[in-house]
C-alpha cells in the first residue's frame, strides 16, 4: 500500500498534470508514475519544487523490447523532507530515442544520463558532455539493448598490440 504522503503527492500530481500522468502502479510499497515524454521536465521540476524531491537517487534505462515505446527511462526520486520515494517513468520510441536532460534540475543526473546513453543509446538533449561513460568512445553498439549478444561482438573492442611499441617501453 502506498503511504499517505505518497498518496498526497500522487493526488496533487494528478490534479496539476491531469493529461500527462498516464499510469500509476504500485509494487511492494513503491509507487511508479508513468509520465508522457513531452512533459517529463515540467513534472520533475514540479516534484522538486513543490514536494521537495531534492535527491535524484538513480536514473536508469530499461529495454522493454516492444514494438511501441521500446525504451523506458526511470527517475528514482527521494524527498528528504518526508522520506518519500517516488519512481517517475517515461517512454521513448526506438526510432527517436531522445529525451530532454534533467541536469538543470539535478546536476547529479550528468553521469547517469551518460550511462543510459552508453548502454541504450538514448540521447539526452541539452546534455553538456554527451560522451560514453563506460565503453570505449569509438564503440559502435549499445550493450544493454536486448539484441546485443552477451559476450559482445568479436573484434568490436580493440585488444592491445602484443608487439611492444618502442615509444611505450
Amino acid at each position: 500500500m502506498p503511504s499517505t504522503t505518497q498518496l498526497a503527492v500522487l493526488d496533487e500530481l494528478k490534479a496539476t498534470f491531469a493529461a500527462s500522468v498516464l499510469e500509476v502502479t504500485e509494487h511492494v510499497g513503491d509507487v511508479f508514475v508513468l509520465v508522457s515524454r513531452d512533459t517529463i521536465i515540467p513534472v520533475l521540476t514540479h516534484l522538486k519544487e513543490t514536494h521537495r524531491f531534492i535527491y535524484l537517487a538513480d536514473l536508469f534505462g530499461v529495454d522493454r523490447f516492444t514494438a511501441v515505446d521500446r525504451f523506458e527511462v526511470v527517475y528514482n526520486l527521494v524527498s528528504l523532507a518526508t522520506g518519500t520515494r517516488l519512481f517517475v517513468k517515461t517512454r521513448v520510441p526506438e526510432d527517436e530515442p531522445v529525451l530532454p536532460t534533467a541536469i538543470g534540475i539535478w546536476s547529479g543526473a550528468n553521469w547517469n544520463e551518460r550511462e543510459v546513453y552508453d548502454m541504450f543509446g538514448i540521447r539526452f538533449e541539452g546534455h553538456p558532455d554527451p560522451r560514453r561513460i563506460f565503453m570505449p568512445e569509438d564503440f559502435e553498439y549499445f550493450p544493454l539493448r536486448k539484441e546485443f549478444p552477451l559476450l559482445g561482438i568479436p573484434g568490436s573492442i580493440e585488444l592491445p598490440n602484443t608487439t611492444p611499441d618502442p615509444e611505450n617501453t
Binding site: F134, M135, P136, P143, F148, P149, L150, L151, G152, I153, I157, E158, L159, P160, N161, T162, P164, D165, N168, T169
Partner: protein, 161 residues
Amino acid sequence: MSFEQALNKQGFLTTSVDALVNWGRSNAVWPMPMGLACCAIEMMAFAGPKYDASRFGSEVFRFSPRQSDLMIVAGWCTYKMSHAVRRIWDQMPDPKWCIAMGACASTGGMHRSYGVVQGIDNFLPVDVYVSGCPPRPETLIHALMQIQDKIRQHPTITLDA
C-alpha cells in the same frame, strides 16, 4: 689430491654460470602487483607475515615496472584496462614472467560479459595459471614456486650466447 679437492680445501666450489645466475634470479623474483579485483586481497596476504613470500625472496612488491620481474595479474581485466596492463608489461625489463591469478584472469571466470577479456592470455604471455575464486595465498605461493622451477630450468647464458 685432485684439483677439485684442492679447490674445496681453499673454500671454492665449481658450478656452471647458468646454475649460479638462475639461483640468483629464482630467489629474488620481485612481483609487480597488478591487483584488479578481489584476488588482490589474497595477493596481499601472500606477501604479508602469515604466508610470508619473503621466504621465497618475493616480498618486495615493486610498484614500478622497471624494477620487477614477475607480473601477478590478480582479478578480472576489462578491455579498457587491458591496454594499461599490456603497457606496464612492455615496460618491465627482460627476463620477466607472468602469473594469471584466479579464474577471472585465467579465463574470464564468472564475468562472461562483453566488457571483460576472457583470459589475459589474449594479450599477455602467461607462464602459470592459478585456479580458484579467489585462490588461497598458499596457491599463489605454489605458483611462485612453479615460476622458480621454470627459471632454474632455463639455460640463461647458453641462450644469450
